[in-house]
C-alpha cells in the first residue's frame, strides 16, 4: 500500500511540472512585453515601476532560468505580488481558499447524499415509474448550466420564498448557522448537475452489480432488500462514482467562479474573476496554478482510494497503479 502511494506520488511529479510550466508560459509567451501585460497601460510611463517589475520577474534572465526561479519561489509559497492591489498573491489566496473549499465540500456532500439513494432506488426497480421519471429528470438537469440553476434557486428561495439570503457570506467563525445558510444555495446550485451525473452513473453500475451471483446468494439467504443494496451492492458499484467524483472537482472549481460571482462570495473564484477584470495577471497566474495543482493532487488521491476500495486493482502489477 505504501509502495502504491509512493509510486502514485512519483507519477504525479512530471504532470505537476508540466502544468506549472504551462501556467508560467501563459504569462510569459504573450505577445508584447511582459511588464506591459503585468503593469497595464496606465503604469507604463512610470520608469520606476517598470524597473521594479523587471527586477521582480527577472525579465533580464533567459526563459528557463526565469521558470526555475519562479518555480522555486512558488514551491516556497511565494507566488509574487499583485501590481494592481499591491497584495501578496499567496496571502490573497490563503484568505479566499477556505470559502471555496467549504462550498465545494458542501456541494459534494449534497450531491452524494441525494444521488446515492436515488441511484440505488432507480437501479433496484429499473424500468419502473420512479426510474423512468428520475432518468428523464436527470437528463434534463444535464442541460442546465450551474449559473442557470443558481438563478432559478435565487428566484425560488430568495425572491419568492425568502428562505435564504440572495447574496453575501457569513464566516463560519462568526456565526455557524448563518454560515450554512449563506453557503446552502451556492452549494446546491453546483451540486445539482453532479446529482444528475452521479445518479445515472450509480444506476448503471448498480444494475450490473445486482445481477451478480453474490447478490443472488444474499437474496436467497433472505436478507432484507435495503441490506442487500447498502451492504452487498453499493461498494462494488461505487468505483466509477468515486472516480467521477474526483473529476467533478474540476467542474466544481470552474463552477465556483460563477456561483461566487453570482452570490457575491469572497472565495477563490471571485479572486480569479476580479483579477481577470482588472487584468491583474500575477493573481490570475497564481490562482490558476493553485487550483490546477489542487485538482491534479485530488485526482491522484482518488486513484489511490480507488485501489483501497477495490482489492482486485491492488493485486495487479504496481506499474499500472
Amino acid at each position: 500500500m505504501g509502495r502504491l502511494i509512493a509510486l502514485k506520488a512519483l507519477s504525479l511529479v512530471p504532470v505537476l511540472l508540466a502544468v506549472s510550466c504551462l501556467t508560467f508560459l501563459m504569462l510569459n509567451l504573450l505577445p508584447g512585453c511582459v511588464e506591459c501585460q503585468v503593469l497595464g497601460p496606465d503604469n507604463l510611463d512610470n520608469p520606476e515601476a517598470v524597473a521594479a517589475v523587471r527586477a521582480d520577474l527577472r525579465l533580464d534572465d533567459p526563459l528557463p532560468v526565469r521558470y526555475g526561479a519562479w518555480l522555486g519561489d512558488a514551491l516556497t509559497g511565494d507566488l509574487g505580488r499583485s501590481y494592481v492591489t499591491r497584495q501578496d498573491v499567496t496571502d490573497a489566496i490563503r484568505e479566499r481558499l477556505p470559502v471555496t473549499l467549504e462550498i465545494m465540500a458542501l456541494s459534494m456532500v449534497l450531491a452524494l447524499v441525494i444521488s446515492i439513494p436515488l441511484g440505488m432506488a432507480t437501479a433496484y426497480r429499473a424500468g419502473g415509474l420512479l426510474d423512468r421519471s428520475v432518468t428523464g429528470a436527470t437528463f434534463g438537469m444535464l442541460a442546465v448550466p450551474s449559473f442557470m440553476m443558481a438563478l432559478l434557486l435565487i428566484y425560488l428561495f430568495a425572491v419568492e420564498l425568502d428562505w435564504f439570503p440572495a447574496t453575501g457570506w457569513t464566516y463560519l467563525t462568526d456565526d455557524p448557522v448563518e454560515n450554512l445558510r449563506s453557503a446552502f444555495m451556492p452549494a446546491l446550485s453546483l451540486a445539482l448537475v453532479n446529482v444528475a451525473i452521479f445518479t445515472r452513473l450509480l444506476r448503471t453500475d448498480m444494475i450490473a452489480t445486482l445481477q451478480d451471483d453474490h447478490v443472488l446468494l444474499a437474496r436467497s439467504k433472505g436478507l432484507p432488500t435495503w441490506r442487500i443494496l447498502t451492504r452487498h451492492a453499493l461498494r462494488p458499484s461505487s468505483f466509477s462514482l468515486l472516480t467521477v467524483s474526483g473529476l467533478a472537482i474540476g467542474n466544481l472549481l470552474g463552477g465556483a467562479v460563477i456561483v461566487e460571482q453570482l452570490f457575491a462570495l469572497p472565495g477563490m473564484g471571485r479572486l480569479l474573476f476580479d483579477a481577470i477584470f482588472r487584468r491583474d495577471l500575477m493573481v490570475v497566474q497564481g490562482v490558476v496554478l493553485v487550483i490546477t495543482v489542487g485538482f491534479v493532487i485530488a485526482n491522484g488521491v482518488v486513484d489511490v482510494l480507488y485501489s483501497v476500495l477495490d482489492p482486485r486493482i491492488r493485486q495487479r502489477s504496481p506499474s499500472h497503479a
Binding site: L30, P145, I154, L201, L247, G254, I313
Partner: protein
C-alpha cells in the same frame, strides 16, 4: 481492451478506453471515466444519457428525437437569417417601453431593461452561440481527430509522448483554464473560439485514437495490407471512414457543452463585448430585474436550456447509433 467490459455488460461507456493511459490513470472502469477530464469534455453527458430502453420507449424517443431536430433546425435557421427576418434592431433602445411583458404590441417576447426587443436579441444571440460552438467543435474535431488518427495508427514512442502531453491539458480544470486564457488573450469571438477549440483537442484525440486502435485490428485492414496498400491508403481509405462517424457524434454532443461554456463566459461578462447580444449576457442582464420581472432572465434561459437539451438528445441518439462498441463493429 480492458477485461472490465466482460464483467459489467450494461455499463455504457464511450469507445475512448484502452490499455495505456499515460498520466498515472487507474485501471478498469476508473480508467474509462478518467478519460473524461475537464469540463470541456463532451463525453460525460453522452455516457450518462444512454439508457437501454424497451421498444415502446424507443418509439417515444423517436418522436422526441424529431422534435429536438426541428427545434435545432429552427434555431440554426433563425441564426443564419436573423438579418433578413422582420425583427426589430436588437440594439435599438426604446426607453418608454422598458420591461414590456411578452405578447405586448410590437414585441412578441417583450423588451429588456433598456427597451430592446427580446426576440430580436435572442435571434442575434443564437448567431454567437452557433458561430462559437460550430467553429470550436470543428477546430477540436479536425486537429484532435487528425492527431488521434495518426498516433493510433503509427503507435510507438510518438504516441506515448503525444498522449501524455494532451493529458496535461486535461489536468487543468476546464473553465478555470478557459477563464485564465481569456484574461490573457482578450475577449473576442475569434479568441474565445480558438481557445475553446484548442482546449478540446485532447478529448477528440482520445476518441479518435481509441477508435483507430480498434479499427486497425480489423481483418479488412489486414486484407488491405496483404494486397499491398500503402500506409496512407489504409489510414484514409480504410480507417478514417470508421473513425469519422464516432468522432462526429462526440462533436455533436460537444456543441451543447460549448454553448454552455460560452453562456457561462457571457454570463460573467467575458464573452463578446456588449452591446452584442448573447444568450448568456441576456440572462445576466435579466438577473438584475429578477425581483420585479422574471421573463427577462427566464426566456433566454429557457431557449438555451431547450437548445442544449435538444443537442444532447440528438447527439446521444446518433452517438449510440455510431458507437463502435454498440454496433458490434
Amino acid at each position: 481492451m480492458p477485461d472490465s467490459r466482460a464483467t459489467t455488460p450494461p455499463v455504457v461507456t464511450p469507445a475512448t478506453v484502452d490499455d495505456s493511459l499515460p498520466v498515472g490513470a487507474p485501471e478498469g472502469p476508473a480508467a474509462e471515466h478518467a478519460v473524461r477530464g475537464n469540463g470541456l469534455d463532451p463525453t460525460l453527458p453522452a455516457v450518462l444519457t444512454a439508457t437501454a430502453g424497451s421498444k415502446r420507449r424507443s418509439r417515444g424517443r423517436g418522436v422526441v428525437f424529431w422534435l429536438a431536430l426541428v427545434w435545432l433546425a429552427v434555431v440554426v435557421l433563425v441564426a443564419l437569417t436573423a438579418s433578413w427576418l422582420p425583427l426589430s434592431d436588437p440594439d435599438k433602445q426604446d426607453l418608454v417601453n422598458r420591461l414590456a411583458p411578452p405578447l405586448s404590441d410590437g414585441h412578441v417576447l417583450g423588451t429588456d431593461g433598456l427597451g430592446r426587443d427580446i426576440l430580436a436579441r435572442l435571434a442575434f444571440g443564437a448567431r454567437v452561440s452557433l458561430i462559437i460552438s460550430v467553429s470550436a467543435v470543428s477546430i477540436g474535431m479536425l486537429v484532435g481527430g487528425t492527431i488521434g488518427l495518426a498516433v493510433g495508427f503509427f503507435r510507438g514512442w510518438f504516441e506515448s509522448v503525444t498522449m501524455w502531453a494532451l493529458n496535461v491539458v486535461l489536468a487543468f480544470p476546464g473553465l478555470v483554464l478557459l477563464l485564465g486564457l481569456v484574461a490573457f488573450v482578450g475577449q473576442s469571438l475569434t479568441a474565445i473560439t480558438l481557445v475553446v477549440g484548442f482546449l478540446s483537442v485532447p478529448v477528440y484525440a482520445r476518441v479518435a485514437r481509441a477508435t483507430t486502435l480498434a479499427a486497425a485490428q480489423r481483418d479488412y485492414v489486414l486484407a488491405a495490407r496483404a494486397l499491398g496498400a500503402s500506409n496512407r491508403r489504409i489510414m484514409f481509405g480504410e480507417i478514417l471512414p470508421n473513425v469519422a462517424l464516432p468522432v462526429a457524434a462526440f462533436g455533436l454532443v460537444a456543441l451543447g457543452v460549448v454553448i454552455v461554456l460560452e453562456g457561462s463566459l457571457a454570463f460573467l461578462g467575458l464573452s463578446v463585448k456588449a452591446p452584442d447580444p448573447t444568450w448568456g449576457s441576456m440572462i445576466a442582464e435579466g438577473r438584475q430585474h429578477l425581483s420585479t420581472t422574471t421573463h427577462l432572465a427566464f426566456i433566454p434561459a429557457l431557449v438555451m436550456f431547450l437548445t442544449v437539451l435538444a443537442v444532447n438528445f440528438v447527439g446521444d441518439v446518433l452517438r449510440s447509433r455510431f458507437d463502435v462498441r454498440e454496433s458490434r463493429l
